[in-house]
């Protein structure tokens, strides 16, 4: 079969969508075979997206940071801090002011990250590893190591309405996530800001010599990442009206994994927020599937890690820029066809 497949349908360009589809179909088939109906039901699918929403939200902002050529490990800690601020302040000032306060705090941490990386010149990995640890410590100090809870019923109602309300069949977090993703996607692809963001990550020196403020764009990406993490934290706080200080620990790795599954380059200059969302959905579909199949949490990490490395391997092997250097497997239409060709 020598048919040329359009680039955007190729494994490298659209692989994460194929993977998502494949996993859903596989899980649906297994569920049907085991006599557990309803995997493909709207309720379950919407539930997967709902669960994935906070990670997808942070993943979209993370993708922007990665596109500019940086890295943000601090998102989960920042989300926890924002959750603590939200719950701590909501009784006194009301829901919306508390939300703004939480976002302001989260954005400030993003700004701090950006300034340390771009203006002081410390490596992003080190800076955000530092803020990951320090901000988590700050959360523990602020909460005294105990769980926080919303006290006033009015505040609790406002929070649950914000998080658990539905528009049609869709819980609000899905809509927040979709709106944010769409907005970032539009900005990245149809505005000068987006073009310059890609240029900054693709070749910082060239961007600088074109008169683009490299520092500005990179710091801006960190602030966006902080704000998105803050919003995810507010969603988390609002879901339960309470939080414990170790909430969301380790989530930053899931967020980064979602971006990598979506094909975002760790070296900057390339990445798609839509594919990051698909990457988050892949991870949560797997989690959801393990729950439904009662496989237990033990297998989960193993499988997810394997999927991540497999995805990265496909992207790396498919990176050949010149057509003749591109391995043929990248040009065939589906993963099954790949297996057929390589006789696996």
């Amino acid at each position: 079969m020598r048919t040329e497949v359009p680039r955007w349908l190729g494994l490298r360009e659209a692989g994460v969508y194929y993977a998502l589809l494949l996993i859903i179909l596989a899980l649906a088939a297994v569920c049907a075979a085991l006599g557990r109906p309803g995997y493909l039901s709207a309720v379950n699918l919407i539930n997967i997206v709902y669960q994935a929403s906070p990670v997808a939200l942070m993943g979209v902002a993370m993708t922007v940071v990665l596109i500019t050529g940086n890295f943000d490990l601090s998102v989960a800690s920042v989300a926890a801090l924002a959750a603590a601020v939200q719950i701590g302040a909501v009784d006194a000032v009301g829901f919306w002011p508390a939300l703004l306060l939480a976002l302001a705090v989260a954005g400030a941490v993003g700004l701090l990250n950006g300034v340390m990386v771009q203006l002081v010149g410390i490596n992003a990995f080190i800076v955000t590893l530092g803020t990951l640890t320090a901000i988590r410590g700050l959360v523990l100090v602020v909460t005294g190591g105990r769980s926080l809870m919303v006290q006033t019923p009015a505040a609790l109602t406002a929070m649950t309405h914000f998080e658990s309300g539905r528009t049609g069949p869709f819980p609000h977090p899905i809509l927040y996530m979709a709106a944010f993703t769409l907005l970032v996607w539009l900005v990245l692809h149809f505005t000068t800001v987006g073009r310059r963001t890609y240029a900054v990550g693709g070749n910082a020196e060239a961007a600088r010599l074109c008169g683009i403020s490299v520092n500005g764009y990179r710091i801006g990406a960190f602030v966006l990442s902080g704000l998105a993490a803050g919003f995810a934290g507010v969603l988390y706080a609002s879901r339960f009206g309470a939080m414990n200080p170790t909430a969301l620990q380790g989530e930053e790795l899931t967020v980064i994994a979602a971006a990598i599954l979506g094909g975002t380059s760790l070296f900057g200059g390339a990445g798609s927020v839509l594919k990051t969302v698909a990457g988050a959905l892949v991870l949560y579909t797997l989690t959801n599937g393990f729950n439904i199949l009662n496989l237990g949490a033990n297998f989960q990490g193993l499988i997810e890690g394997t999927v991540l490395i497999a995805a990265a391997a496909i992207y790396t092997l498919g990176r050949g820029s010149a057509p003749r250097r591109t391995p043929t497997i990248i040009r065939v239409e589906s993963p099954e066809a790949v297996c057929h060709k390589t006789r696996c």
Binding site: F190, T191, T192, V193, R195, R196, Y198, A199, G201, G202, N203, E205, A206, A207, R208, L209, C210, G211, I212, S213, G269, A270, S321, A322
Partner: protein, 508 residues
């Protein structure tokens, strides 16, 4: 000395797979205990010769006799083992390791275990050349001149009998340069041989006993230094009849209005205070060799050098010192390294073209107009004859000449008044080179002021209107292109005697 020379090259030829003949039968003889100078313009074949001697590539024809025996090296380790050490322009040292560790890096055996013995050895080496270095200092902390000395010590530690030095003093200050000169003399005094590649004619004349000049891949002059002088060398390097009228339009009198005025522009350690002006329609050439400060000057004018001080005025108005302000004011820089400094590999051709003046291709400066971008790209492709699959093609697939055209065309998308070109014709084929020179003259005719850096001095003499000559970070002379030629430029840029009084007083 002994009857048998240390190294003899006989009819050495090198033809690259793409058909370029870099060496066309070069004969060269290096004797024990002598310093042999190797001169030639860019592209004459010096680098290829060095690569063959260091074992990095194999000659396609001819013989190499080492101590009278025929050899054929295919790996650098073989040349090193035989006793040839090569000091490249960019010395490959490990910045995080100490001087001691770097000097013995290439040595076989576990240096970690006998550090003390090595320290004694290094001490003895340093005494022998009369130069002391802190052997425990990390190499990254050393100034460039001392790093050069670490490279020389490395060659000594390998007990090389022939040391090939590729432009060892190009980026050094005067004091460091003297140190290298002294070391070279000592090496010869010890009976070692040195093959010295340098652009500085005075340096070569002072240090060497014999000189070979390469031109277009052939040895055109081979003689004892005593029988030569600077004009003879310059003539041998240049050789061919000058192409004075190639690209230049009818004598371009500087009648245009003053576009740019540079006043006391300097950068500590890189650039001595420079002042000059460029007029509309004028192509101002900057002549100078590697390390002369020519790129640094352009970056300072563009505001890309943060530590630069001084004033750049464009049409009478002072430009704030940042690339952003420069672009907004109408200054454009086509940098030397296309891949590293100009092109964004992830963006298609159109995206690379519009990057500097992106606001002009967007509604309200924000929403991109894809049609306008594609249109501009299609026009640029047609105007400059860029060979590509189209506006959406990746720039990574462009050849050197076409990539350079994109890098220049980027600045034609906006209101460019002062165009700074840094080696726009380096490393590209002759057809694209002619097109770029023609484009440059066309833009000048349209009223753009152009500052053009080139190390191809013949090209400068042929296509510029006026030429500033740089050496060691300063403008040392100025010539009207009609009144000079390549040979004189070589003399001026290499710091040799000045043929006649300058058009203006010497700067800096």
């Amino acid at each position: 000395m002994s009857a048998r020379p240390l190294l003899q090259l006989e009819r050495l030829e090198m033809v690259y797979p793409n058909g370029t003949a870099a060496l066309r039968g070069v004969d060269l003889t290096v004797r024990h205990g002598t310093v042999h100078g190797l001169l030639g313009a860019n592209g004459a074949g010096k680098s290829t010769l060095i690569r063959i001697l260091s074992g990095a590539t194999r000659a396609t024809a001819g013989r190499i006799l080492w101590r009278g025996e025929r050899v054929s090296w295919s790996r650098p380790a073989q040349a090193r083992a035989a006793g040839i050490a090569t000091l490249h322009q960019q010395i490959p040292l490990v910045g995080t390791l100490s001087v001691l560790e770097n000097v013995f890096l290439a040595q076989p055996g576990g240096w970690r275990h006998d550090a003390r013995a090595l320290a004694v050895r290094l001490r003895r080496l340093m005494t022998s050349i009369g130069y002391e270095l802190d052997m425990n200092a990390p190499v990254a902390a050393l100034p460039i001149g001392e790093r050069q000395m670490v490279g020389i010590l490395q060659a000594l530690a390998a007990e090389a009998s022939l040391i090939v030095m590729d432009e060892p003093t190009a980026s050094l200050a005067a004091g460091e340069r003297r140190l290298v000169h002294r070391t070279i003399r000592r090496l010869a005094g010890e009976g070692r041989a040195v093959l010295l590649v340098s652009h500085f004619l005075d340096e070569v004349l002072a240090l060497t006993g014999e000189i070979t000049v390469l031109r277009d891949g052939a040895a055109v002059l081979s003689s004892a230094t005593a029988a030569l002088d600077e004009p003879a060398l310059a003539a041998a390097i240049v050789g061919r009849p000058l192409r004075r009228t190639d690209a230049r339009a009818a004598a371009n009198e500087p009648g245009g209005h003053k576009v740019a005025e540079i006043i006391g522009l300097e950068s500590p350690g890189r650039l001595a205070p420079c002042s000059f002006e460029v007029r509309a329609g004028e192509v101002l050439g900057i002549a100078g060799f590697l390390g002369s400060g020519r790129s640094e000057l352009l970056h300072a004018v563009f505001g890309a050098d943060r530590s630069a001080r001084g004033e750049v005025r464009l049409q009478g108005r002072r430009v704030r010192r940042s690339p952003r302000a420069a672009v907004a004011a109408g200054i454009a820089l086509v940098p030397e390294d296309r891949q590293k400094q100009a092109l964004v590999p992830e963006l298609p051709l159109a995206g690379n073209l519009t990057l500097a003046h992106l606001g002009r291709f967007a509604r309200w400066g924000l929403f991109l107009r894809a049609g306008a971008e594609t249109g501009a790209a299609v026009r640029a492709i047609a105007r400059l004859g860029i060979r590509t699959a189209g506006a959406g093609a990746p720039v990574s697939e462009l050849s050197g000449g076409n990539a350079q055209k994109v890098s220049i065309a980027r600045w034609l998308c906006g209101p460019t008044r002062l165009l700074l070109l840094d080696e726009p014709t380096a490393g590209i084929d002759i057809g694209a080179r002619a097109q770029i020179l023609a484009l440059m003259r066309e833009l000048a005719a349209g009223g753009v002021a152009i500052v053009w850096v080139s190390s191809d001095l013949a090209e400068l003499a042929a296509a510029a209107d006026r030429i500033l000559i740089m050496r060691e970070g300063a403008i040392v002379a100025e010539r009207h292109a009609r009144e000079t030629d390549e040979a004189e430029l070589v003399l001026l840029a290499s710091g040799a005697a000045r043929g006649r009084p300058d058009v203006r007083a010497e700067a800096g």
